[in-house]
Subunit: 318 residues, 2 copies
Amino acid sequence: MTVSRVLRNRGDVSEATREKVLEAAKALGYVPNKIAGALASQRVNLVGIVIPSLSNLVFPEVLSGISEELEDTGLQPVVGVTNYSPDKEEAVLYEMLSWRPSGVIIAGLEHTEAARAMLENAGVPVVEIMDVDGAGVDSVVGISHRRAGRHMAEAIVAAGYRRIGFLGTKMPEDHRARKRLEGFEEGLAAAGLALADSEFYQGGSALLKGREMTEAILKRTPDLDFLYYSNDMIGAGGLLWCLENGYDVPGKLGLAGFNGVDLLDGLPRKLATMDACRREIGRKAAEIVAGRPHSGAIGGEVIELEPVIEFGDTIRKL
Amino acid sequence: MTVSRVLRNRGDVSEATREKVLEAAKALGYVPNKIAGALASQRVNLVGIVIPSLSNLVFPEVLSGISEELEDTGLQPVVGVTNYSPDKEEAVLYEMLSWRPSGVIIAGLEHTEAARAMLENAGVPVVEIMDVDGAGVDSVVGISHRRAGRHMAEAIVAAGYRRIGFLGTKMPEDHRARKRLEGFEEGLAAAGLALADSEFYQGGSALLKGREMTEAILKRTPDLDFLYYSNDMIGAGGLLWCLENGYDVPGKLGLAGFNGVDLLDGLPRKLATMDACRREIGRKAAEIVAGRPHSGAIGGEVIELEPVIEFGDTIRKL
DNA sequence: ATGAAAGCGCTAACAA
DNA sequence: TTGTTAGCGCTTTCAT
């Protein structure tokens, strides 16, 4: 009836009735039922966001970017967390799609077959984020972790380091970290080098783990002249440990992390890193979802962002 | 029809038909429409989460706790961010309630009048989190920031510090930080003391701001013997700065933060802090929402968690 | 400018 | 055990 028109500012309604309706609505504390509305109109202002974790620091930042961009589009994010489990991801996705959201933003390109099929048949914009190394279902926004790793390797080799160690997480399901390491090893191989040693961890405070792993790897292989960390937090832990223990950084020992978390600006030295463009990825993904109302037809765009090496104070200049 | 029964594992269905339906569903890539389901059944498996920010580190942790607890309840979190704006909060809440969620978890006890009214009339469990200093609408899970501040003041005074400075954020809408400071000043007053100086910031990298503010306040008031920071990140920045500049911590200068972020385990010294029980608050809140299916009648419980001072290495022992 | 009526895709109650 | 039917509270279309 008319009420519906007033509350949606649609169609022709006289100013008089309009005010009357608004007043009544307020008096009754009326809150429209979007469920009914969505069912009738076949439109839902929700966007499904599927991410592996909330404790990784990286994902809240992406989320934040998405949330910012969605701010005044009338779209609401619905978040699902997969804990890096493909099966959980499939379940979360199923759950989300059953709400017929206006779009889906999902981390990574690797999904179960069923999940992939769901995404393909969703009939709404799908944006796979964080990673561009592989084939996407629809749109893709991210960086090439493989090339990121490769570039870092090249920069390290160019700076004259030769005995290089890697420190990272033990997470087979973290495809981006895996690709970064693969790219890194490729980069070393191109210079005729290989990893001299490596060390992995899981769980715990990253800063602390960074310390422990750094100590362990340097004890085991004292002639290392560079440590590449799979993220800035463990890198920061390593940096603190090295400084305390009198290592000549970056003279005799270089260090680099990954992500470019500005959380860490303010350390005694600035850790070399690469910005993973997290917030930007979130924004762009949200933009695509918000901007392509009912499409699904047009087919996806692939946006590759370029992470830049920030040398900081832990890679020596030649 | 029968299909509905199969997919919800309800009622009596013969194994034969059951399998046939399941098979057909899979073949067609059928995904049920929860919108229609929700409308018909008046049940919605969504929980609205309203928080001020995602960049604060604290809230992702709470979210994480909620998400964990909701994991196998079949409930999905829907997140809304308010940027510490009461009006935005009201808008976000309105939006959420129009989806008739099974519950609402909202940060803080301070809301606009309209928002409060909505919460009261929501007809589902409402849990206000983080703070217990004030009157809640329904259930409340949190800590007393006022007492947290007071306790910290008492501990500092007991350790013999007398010239105490405060460093915090300039956020009138962050009621919890405000209450903490008020409690802190009360605690000092009870010992016949007052803040000797204070310094506020907004935006930027917290670690870096901590450094800058620490330098500034110590330049301005060199005889300070204690610095109380409103969060651990700026506290950590301050700690690093003090160590680099040769301050005798905790002998001549004590430091303390707030939150107990384990992210920072691994600093050269362990910063004194108080655990804000963030994850636990999330879990408990989710538990309440999940455990009180259709109630709304029973009336809320108030769960006050007790933050404990972790002295670390930056408050001297007498 | 307003009202009336027909669904949206399910669930719940009842009938068979 | 299965099928039938009447809504859930809106939006949309068509009539007034």
